[in-house]
């Protein structure tokens, strides 16, 4: 079965209901091994933690990278053959595995210094795509929901794939669905299904873009006392874009190429610092400020 996502096509032995089926030739192939207890392994070069508990560890593999989502699954990405092999721990639910594949593994597998995948939400505005990046918890998805409520079409929730084209960057839509939790769910007034079994967030699907579009600006979110937008130039822009890259490793193994990639992106698109205070009631003002800023760009 072939499914489209992030401008590529994945050949999968399992259904992926979050994605659209396609007849186009697949670029990537997914292999699913029978569920088995995850063996103890060492040699991880980086581990991300949630609440102090290991969540994801990565290490180089023979022809790519190995990703271990602790107690849930191991994925092995072969960057040359363009395959992703997953082994799930017993009891790991199919929705959780698809969530990890679509929101974590596939974006990282697609990332390359010259064709980056940014950890960002994005919306379609006049002239192209506005992307919103920044550390987890600042409200990238919530801001995207506010744009949807204002009538704008959504582009991606978590991963924005970019390909250079004629001196600019062409952005590819992510798969439809915003993951919202808590009070943010009220923005669009639709409850949606839980992201995975027991997950606190739900997936909501507002009107979604289906075609690639030029990237018009990147907004780096920061918490502030009042809404403000200011240019982010030079080193600050490059560092922000480098930090937003969804990589399999941590960028050190290809630092020079990653640097050149971030510089190229910073030179081709305006990068802004968008400060926003807490408070869902302020989101319409944030939306209006971004629209005005982009109209002037």
């Amino acid at each position: 079965m072939k499914f489209a996502a992030y401008g590529t096509v994945l050949d999968s032995p399992v259904e992926i209901p979050e994605l659209l089926r396609t007849g186009t030739r697949a670029e990537w192939t997914l292999f699913v091994a029978p569920a088995a207890p995850l063996a103890r392994e060492g040699g991880w070069i980086r581990t991300w933690r949630v609440g102090g508990v290991p969540w994801l560890s990565v290490k180089p593999a023979k022809r790519g990278w190995r990703l271990r989502f602790h107690r849930t699954a191991v994925f092995e990405v072969d960057s040359k053959a363009k395959t992703i092999a997953w082994t799930a721990a017993p009891g790991a639910g199919p929705a959780m595995l698809r969530h990890l594949l679509l929101d974590q593994v596939l974006p990282r597998a697609l990332h390359a210094p010259a064709t980056p995948v940014l950890h960002a939400s994005a919306v379609v505005l006049p002239g192209g795509v506005a992307a919103f990046t920044g550390r987890t918890g600042l409200g990238k998805s919530t801001l995207a929901a506010a744009f949807a409520r204002a009538g704008r079409r959504l582009f991606t929730d978590d991963a924005l794939r970019l390909i250079p084209r004629a001196g600019r960057f062409l952005a590819f839509p992510g798969y439809p669905g915003l993951r919202l939790g808590g009070d943010s769910l009220g923005i669009l007034g639709k409850p949606g299904a839980r992201v995975t079994e027991g997950h606190w967030k739900r997936r909501v699907v507002p009107p979604w873009a289906t075609r690639p579009a030029p990237l018009r600006a990147v907004y780096v979110l920061e918490r502030g006392r009042r809404i403000s937008i200011e240019p982010l130039g030079g080193a600050a822009a490059v560092v922000a874009l480098f930090g937003a890259g969804m990589r399999l490793g941590d960028g050190r193994e290809d630092a020079a190429a990653e640097f050149e990639g971030a510089v190229r992106l910073a030179r081709s698109v305006p990068v802004r610092r968008l400060r926003l205070p807490r408070g869902l009631e302020l989101l319409p003002e944030v939306v209006a400020a971004v629209e005005r800023d982009l109209a002037r760009t």
Binding site: G233, G234, A235, V238, A255, F259, A266
Partner: protein
Amino acid sequence: MSLSPASRISIPEKTLMRVVDGQAVILSLGTERYYGLDEIGTRIWELLASGKTLAETAEAMAKEFDAPAATIESDIRALLAELVREGLIEPVK
């Protein structure tokens, strides 16, 4: 570090520099740290990287920015000291 007006600098291979929006963005592959220079610092870097001595750089900057050469030279020395300390450039005798 002691620099004379005739001093030049060399840029090691582990230092990458590109200009974005008129500002130098520098990556040290050795320390994996990023640095930024403002427009004036960027111009100083460009002049020194082209092979000019400290004195020649100060003279060029004094003309471009219509400022006293002595003040400019003092600023250049301060910047160079920091760049050498961070391992981004090396003085050449």
